[in-house]
């Protein structure tokens, strides 16, 4: 019998914080890892949801999918998804996704009417109950349920029950504790003898809080004010949209300046500084580990128990691995590989990870592309290999505080060659023309009142 599949994506879930929670023996995450295979060194293809999804659900690198960002680009014709494979194997789809997912043309038709939700829903504030209720209802067999939950997406709101030091040092850790609590509830309704459960993240995030000897700083946005701001913004007349967008960037910049003033005398490490100073409107994008390293946990029917694989793997490998366990095959080309052999062979070959940053939607951003090995991280400007070049020695400098690119030109070249090797199959890097067309059309359609 084919197993049912529960696929849970926790938006902005960092691997380090997931692993930290797993250290506690009474945590649900600890229990889940004991019952499955855990990959703490999983590299997402991008630091933003849309590009990360594009890669995860096609098992291809993002630049081969046609999806470039949230700017109305969608999956290219002829690009198959992992849902096609599941559909061919008789799976019925159920889903809970944020509304923006409708635009990318990536997802199958879900059987449940309530599959799209407003942006701020998470398993800790309603989605968990929906998932449980759906699992307990009469579902078509075999089912594949995809839930993308926004609990950790900025702004993070910790419920009063968990907003306490015993649940974590900062808002992020406390929210992970709250998620852990809800995972227990959900898993309690899943039969692991007949179901495969996957838990992963689409990308990581900066944690905008820090505790020093003398001071505690918390720059986490307050969700209530953010939701209110979004609602007010959406009610603004269309003709005010350009003003509204501009105002957003002005306010963000003002907020950044204020933060810089507070932080300048604190002698913080670069990774601490960049986390605290980061904002939604940042023009310069990066792909530091805190933004792209996510957990990948798989358990249930057919899956071995109590294995932690410390080798670097990628989110693009998740579906090939799942399908290998299920005995399903891809009928199209993919970039991901099955990790089944990696699970049993501790000395298996290094898997290179392609990484890129997700562009801003409302204005141009400085984006980067790069690759990561288990030892080095290399990234540079998306359009110019000589600009914004970064190289980090991950063994000596795990927090990526010291860019060593200038003194290691040979290594930079070696990594660039590896990157070029990956990119040679890219149809057209950046797909700029398509983006520009889409933006212009959107502008014209807005004038006509259609958007």
């Amino acid at each position: 019998m084919k197993p049912n599949i529960l696929f849970l994506i926790i938006d902005s879930l960092r691997s380090d914080k997931f692993s930290q929670k797993a250290q506690l023996e009474d945590s649900t995450i600890h229990f889940l890892i004991n019952n499955g295979v855990f990959f703490p060194e999983t590299i997402a293809s991008a630091n933003g949801t849309i590009l990360s999804w594009s890669s995860l659900f096609t098992s291809k690198f993002p630049f081969k999918t046609g999806i470039r960002s949230a700017k109305f680009n969608k999956l290219n014709d002829g690009v198959h998804t992992c849902f096609d494979v599941l559909k061919n194997n008789g799976y019925a789809f159920y889903g809970y996704l944020p509304t923006l997912s409708e635009a990318v043309g990536l997802f199958p038709k879900f059987k449940n009417q309530d599959c799209y939700y407003d942006f701020y829903l998470g398993i800790t504030n309603g989605l968990g109950e929906k998932i449980i209720s759906k699992i307990n209802s009469k579902l078509d067999y075999p089912w594949f349920m995809l839930a993308h939950t926004m609990d950790l997406h900025q702004p993070v709101q910790v419920s009063s029950q968990f907003d306490d030091e015993k649940h974590g040092e900062n808002y992020y850790e406390r929210k992970v504790s709250e998620i852990d609590f809800w995972l227990k509830k959900i898993i309690g309704h899943v039969n692991l003898d007949t179901t495969i459960v996957i838990v992963t993240g689409d990308h990581g995030d900066y944690i905008k809080a820090i505790k020093t000897k003398n001071q505690e700083l918390d720059f986490n946005l307050k969700q209530s004010s953010e939701v209110l701001k979004s609602k007010i913004a959406s009610l603004a007349p269309e003709f005010l949209k350009p003003v509204k967008d501009k105002l957003f960037f002005v306010l963000e910049n003002a907020s950044q300046a204020k933060k810089s003033e507070v932080l300048k005398n604190l002698n913080l490490a670069p990774h601490e500084m960049r986390a605290l100073i980061s904002g939604k409107a940042d023009k310069d994008h990066f792909v530091f580990d805190e933004l792209i390293k996510v957990p990948f946990l798989i358990l249930g029917k057919y899956i071995p128990k109590s294995i932690i694989v410390k080798q670097q793997i990628r989110t693009v490998d998740i579906f090939p691995t799942l399908f290998d366990f299920l005995g399903f095959s891809f009928k199209f080309e993919i970039d991901g590989v099955s990790l089944k052999s990696v699970i049993s062979d501790k000395n298996s070959k290094e898997i290179l990870a392609y990484i890129e940053s997700n562009p801003l939607v409302l204005k141009e951003s400085n984006d980067v592309i790069g690759i990561r090995t288990s030892e080095f991280k290399y990234f540079r400007d998306k359009n110019d290999a000589t600009k914004r070049v970064h190289l980090y020695d991950l063994n000596k400098d795990p927090f990526e505080d010291h860019n060593i690119s200038e003194k290691n030109s040979h290594k930079v070249q070696e990594m660039e060659d590896l990157l070029q090797q990956m990119l040679k199959e890219a149809p057209k890097m950046g797909n700029q023309e398509n983006n520009e067309d889409s933006e212009e059309i959107a502008r014209e359609l807005r004038k006509l009142g259609y958007l």
Binding site: F72, G105, D437, L445, G449, L451
Partner: protein, 371 residues
């Protein structure tokens, strides 16, 4: 050879056209097709099909988003035909997305909110009267957009496709549309009178089309157009006016893709074999009483709850004079309507007439697979 003045009355409903005072004065002196089935119930899709005589499935323009995909090297447009014949070609349009620009010497965008279109278009008539007097042939395209403007301001921006307030006030919606149409009818009367005053009508073929209809609240889920494929938006009209063209009203179904071949035949311009053949056919046989109705194919893009039109069509339809078959690819449902018994398309009889459904489903597959 005749000049061509082509007027698009954006969003003019057929039920209003047939009772419009000035419209009627024109219809009395023209060939009037009152059931021209649009390829798409929104201007971008509708006008690209009309200007190329070919469905968007072939030309690449099958959604609000796809005007950039128009295959100009494969499909020759009305403007390009006339430009190649030496016409001075000029268009005054609502927006750069609505027409394929190829073939226009000038394609100017008007400000639909602030411009007085009557005044603006009268100036253009003066300008092209001079062009004509200089011995040059011209093609003048005029887009009357004020019905759209009113709908945009008072419907599109105030309600969504599921606003109860809109659908519960049908009478108010109808009154609002009546007022918009009355202004449109006035515009058309003024323009036609001016054309006659300048005596341009003597050596000019005048074509007046509506590109699609507009909802006044008929079906919940569509507050204006471009969502479903029902007759209140798909039915457009075409008027051909010149002293040599018979006065007749043709009620039989024709297709918007037939308009281009008809104009070319009226202007005695041969089709260019360097381009793909039109899917449309000349309507001259209908004017001569020998026309054979053909199945019309349409596509629309239901935004569902996303708030923006999809990039690919997700509502497909075929229509005959008697039946309409609709396939909603976004949810896999199908609809069949007996248009004679149920012109408002209120009773889906897909399960009552499985053979008819099967026949039309095959037709839809046949047309849509001919990409």
């Amino acid at each position: 050879m005749l000049n061509l003045i082509f007027i698009t009355m954006d969003g003019a409903r057929v039920d209003h056209i047939i009772s419009g005072k000035n419209y009627n004065n024109i219809i009395k002196k023209s060939t009037f097709f009152s059931r021209v089935i649009a390829y798409a119930p929104y201007t971008i899709g509708a006008m690209h099909a009309l200007f190329s005589g070919t469905y968007g499935t072939k030309t690449g323009v099958n959604s609000y988003w796809s005007n950039v995909n128009f295959k100009k090297d494969k499909y020759k447009t009305l403007a390009k035909y006339l430009q190649d014949e030496g016409y001075v070609t000029y268009g005054d349009v609502i927006n750069k997305l609505v027409l394929p620009p190829i073939g226009f010497d000038e394609l100017i965008i008007h400000d639909e909110i602030n411009d007085d279109l009557t005044e603006r278009h009268i100036k253009l008539l003066d300008k092209f009267n001079k062009v004509s007097k200089d011995g040059k042939k011209f093609f003048l395209y005029l887009h009357y957009s004020n019905i759209h403007t009113g709908i945009m301001q008072e419907v599109l921006k105030k309600y969504d496709n599921f606003s109860k307030e809109y659908f519960e006030n049908r009478q108010k919606n109808e009154q609002f549309y009546d007022d918009l149409f009355e202004e449109a009818d006035e515009y058309l009367g003024t323009i036609m009178n001016y054309i006659e005053k300048l005596e341009l009508n003597k050596d000019t073929l005048i074509v007046i089309v509506s590109d699609h209809g507009i909802s006044v609240g008929e079906k919940f889920g569509e507050r204006a157009y471009g969502v479903f494929c029902y007759d209140y938006t798909l039915t457009s009209t075409a008027i051909f006016s010149h002293q040599n063209i018979p006065t007749t009203h043709i009620e039989s179904q024709v297709r918007s893709i037939d308009v281009l071949p008809t104009i070319l035949e009226m202007l005695r311009i041969k089709t260019d074999t360097n381009y793909e053949r039109f899917q449309g056919d000349s309507l001259i046989p209908f004017i001569e009483g020998k026309g054979i109705p053909k199945i019309a194919f349409s596509q629309s893009g239901n935004p569902l709850k996303s708030g923006k039109p999809p990039k690919e069509p997700n509502v497909w339809a075929v229509r005959t004079d008697e039946w309409k078959f609709i396939k909603n690819t976004h949810d896999g449902t199908e609809e069949l309507y007996s248009l004679i018994n149920d012109p408002r398309e209120e009773n889906n009889v897909i399960y009552d007439f499985p053979q008819k459904a099967s026949e039309l489903r095959m037709e839809l597959d046949r047309i849509s697979s001919n990409i």
